[in-house]
């Protein structure tokens, strides 16, 4: 498993992080370094071992179906970079 420049671009695109063309090579090298180090895990025999889902050991707690929140658009929008008429505003989305 080795990361090339195209893979870096693909991951960066998935993560919505712009990577300048002249940095893809360096980044690929760094990521490969980390991935090679991580690859040590392949040595561990995990046959029949269930993945650890949670360390706390209790099941998912359920909450009662009651309206206890909301009706506070001012709080919701308090830190909005751009808003209008209580909507968040973003550059136009084309579907």
């Amino acid at each position: 498993m080795s990361v090339d420049k195209d893979t870096v671009k693909k991951i960066a695109r998935l993560a919505r992080i712009a990577v300048p063309e002249d940095q893809t090579e360096t980044l690929a090298g760094e990521l490969n370094g980390i991935l090679n180090w991580i690859a040590e895990l392949e040595q561990v025999d995990t046959e029949g071992v269930p993945p650890l889902a949670s360390v706390t050991g209790h099941p998912l707690p359920l909450r009662a179906d009651q309206v206890t929140d909301g009706e506070q658009p001012e709080s919701v929008l308090a830190n909005a970079p751009e808003q209008a008429s209580s909507f968040f505003v973003v550059p136009k989305v084309v579907e």
């Binding site: 498993m1 990361v3 893979t7 870096v8 991951i11 960066a12 998935l14 993560a15 919505r16 992080i17 712009a18 990577v19 980044l27 760094e30 990521l31 370094g33 980390i34 991935l35 180090w37 991580i38 690859a39 040590e40 895990l41 392949e42 040595q43 561990v44 995990t46 071992v49 269930p50 993945p51 650890l52 889902a53 949670s54 360390v55 706390t56 050991g57 209790h58 998912l60 707690p61 909450r63 506070q72 709080s75 919701v76 308090a78 830190n79 909005a80 970079p81 751009e82 968040f88 973003v90 550059p91 136009k92 989305v93 084309v94």
Partner: protein, 493 residues
């Protein structure tokens, strides 16, 4: 140094109760210390006015004998905890200027216990780092740095918290620990750092790094102070599905309960190549102290220890890549304007996240992406299971485990930045317990050859924080580590 700054939290509480001094006086002494230690870059936001207001309110409650556990004590809060109406940034450009409309559960508990907010403390960006150098505000300087010598790291990610407690700028501080972010900086700064069991303190309102690992904890100058603070901040919170609904054992009593008859595990795998001889010597010294205090040493094996770091560096970045997707410039935080939504996302996130955060997001995204999930994330969760089982097996025969806290003393800022993996190796002793969700404490126990503090780590079984405090209390008593760093408030010119 003002005499008030020399008091431990327990002593300060007694002084407030006996009206030897007021919370406003105590707080003012600490505010002066905050000002004096500014060159150490520990705070990212100071809240002096709020602190004096809260102190006055504490004095009123003290007068009415309605004091809480932490009544009137000056606290520093890692800037990862959301504080209502006080800027919370996670030390990232992407959250600069973000003012939460809510209070994290942990800090809420602290204010209810009477704590006084001195300000928000520096940390690594989104808690990703081991030297606090990824902070957008620049790193704090370890108060143990010597005049004329290189500026040393306070450790990370909770570097500001460790430094501020060590330099006497606050009495107590919160931290969060994902892979060692409380225990490692505590060791580097010569203070006590406690990471409780995963699920002990609510994560509600704490900026998430890796949800299955993140756990809030304490910084203090003594083990008893830690137990006092944990008592105030722990507790079940129905708003966090992973919060445990179990009572906290009596940790304050445990501090002085002694270790007579306890079995202390010494893991053979924690002897590592190239370990600092001073660390090795301190570990052996710690074992001796415990035996002298009546404990029995038991060699234990944690065979999957060497896989803990690679395992951690899959799980934590994978979770982080998803947790940090919300920082996209739409609802809050930084936005870099662009023509299209997608360009806006990419521009915002590239400008808003620092290099290490971007690197971890990319690694995490890769580890979860189609075709690699099984090989990376799923594999890591299986290895994590084995690591947890190693500890389960060990705790079947021992009450606690003693290890070094870090592989070295504090290093110079800038000395490990070139290679991420070298930096990651800092957490070699702390990460395994994080993966297993165990409570762990770092206790200052000695000095390196260069005169820098070194810590010992005590681990116990899940929800057995009392065992941690028992052993930590014994180590503290034996070590008698009471040194103030050369650049503590009052010593800084």
């Amino acid at each position: 140094m003002s005499d008030l700054l020399k008091l431990t939290a327990v002593e300060a509480r007694a002084g407030l109760d006996s009206r030897a001094f007021s919370s406003v006086e105590l707080t003012q002494a600490y505010l002066d210390a905050v000002t004096a230690t500014r060159p150490l870059n520990q705070f990212v936001t100071e809240t002096a006015d709020k602190a004096l207001e809260m102190a006055a309110a504490s004095d009123a409650r003290l007068a009415k004998a309605e004091a809480g556990l932490l009544e009137g004590l000056p606290l520093g809060i890692k800037d990862l905890f959301c504080t209502k109406a006080v800027q919370t940034t996670a030390c990232s450009a992407i959250l600069k200027g973000f003012v939460p409309e809510y209070e994290s559960h942990v800090t809420d508990q602290l204010w209810q216990a009477g704590g006084v907010l001195m300000g928000k403390l520096n940390c690594d960006e989104f808690a990703m780092g081991s030297s606090n150098e990824t902070s957008v505000f620049g790193p704090p300087v370890n108060p143990w740095s010597k005049d004329g010598g290189p500026a040393l790291t306070a450790g990370g990610s909770s570097g500001g918290s460790a430094a501020a407690v060590a330099s006497r700028a606050v009495l107590l501080a919160t931290g969060t620990d994902t892979g060692g972010s409380i225990r490692q900086p505590a060791a580097f700064c010569g203070v006590v750092g406690m990471k409780p069991t995963y699920g002990r303190c609510s994560r509600w309102g704490i900026v998430a790094f890796a949800s299955s690992l993140d756990q809030a904890g304490t910084f203090s100058r003594t083990v008893a102070d830690s137990a006092l603070m944990l008592q105030a901040m722990a507790g079940h919170d129905p708003r966090d599905s992973t919060s445990a609904n179990l009572p906290l054992p009596d940790c304050q009593a445990a501090v002085t309960a002694g270790v007579k008859g306890l079995k202390i595990g010494i893991p053979e795998e924690y002897v590592m190549d190239g370990m600092d001889p001073a660390i090795m010597a301190l570990w052996e010294q710690g074992q001796k102290w415990l035996v002298e205090a009546g404990a029995e040493l038991v060699p234990v094996s944690l065979p999957h220890t060497r896989y803990a770091l690679p395992c951690y560096y899959i799980i934590a970045p994978a979770e982080a890549s998803s947790n940090l997707a919300r920082y996209d410039g739409v609802c809050y935080g930084l936005r870099v304007e662009a023509e299209s939504l997608d360009e806006m996302y990419a521009a915002t996130r590239s400008a808003g996240f620092g290099e290490e955060v971007r690197r971890r997001i990319l690694i995490g995204t890769y580890a979860l992406s189609a075709g690699y999930y099984d090989a990376y994330y799923l594999k890591a969760q299986k290895v994590r299971q084995l690591i947890a089982r190693d500890f389960e097996t060990a705790f079947a025969s021992v009450d606690a485990i003693l290890t070094p806290a870090t592989p070295s003393a504090a290093f110079a800022l800038g000395s490990k930045q070139q290679d991420p993996i070298t930096m990651y190796l800092n957490d070699v002793f702390t990460v395994p317990a994080s993966l297993a969700g165990l409570p762990g404490i770092s206790v200052p126990a000695g000095l390196s050859e260069a005169g820098l503090p070194l810590g010992l780590q005590v681990l116990a079984n899940k929800f057995a924080e009392d065992r941690v405090y028992q052993v930590a209390g014994a180590l503290e008593a034996a070590a008698g580590f009471t040194l103030a760093p050369p650049r503590a408030a009052g010593e800084v010119q």
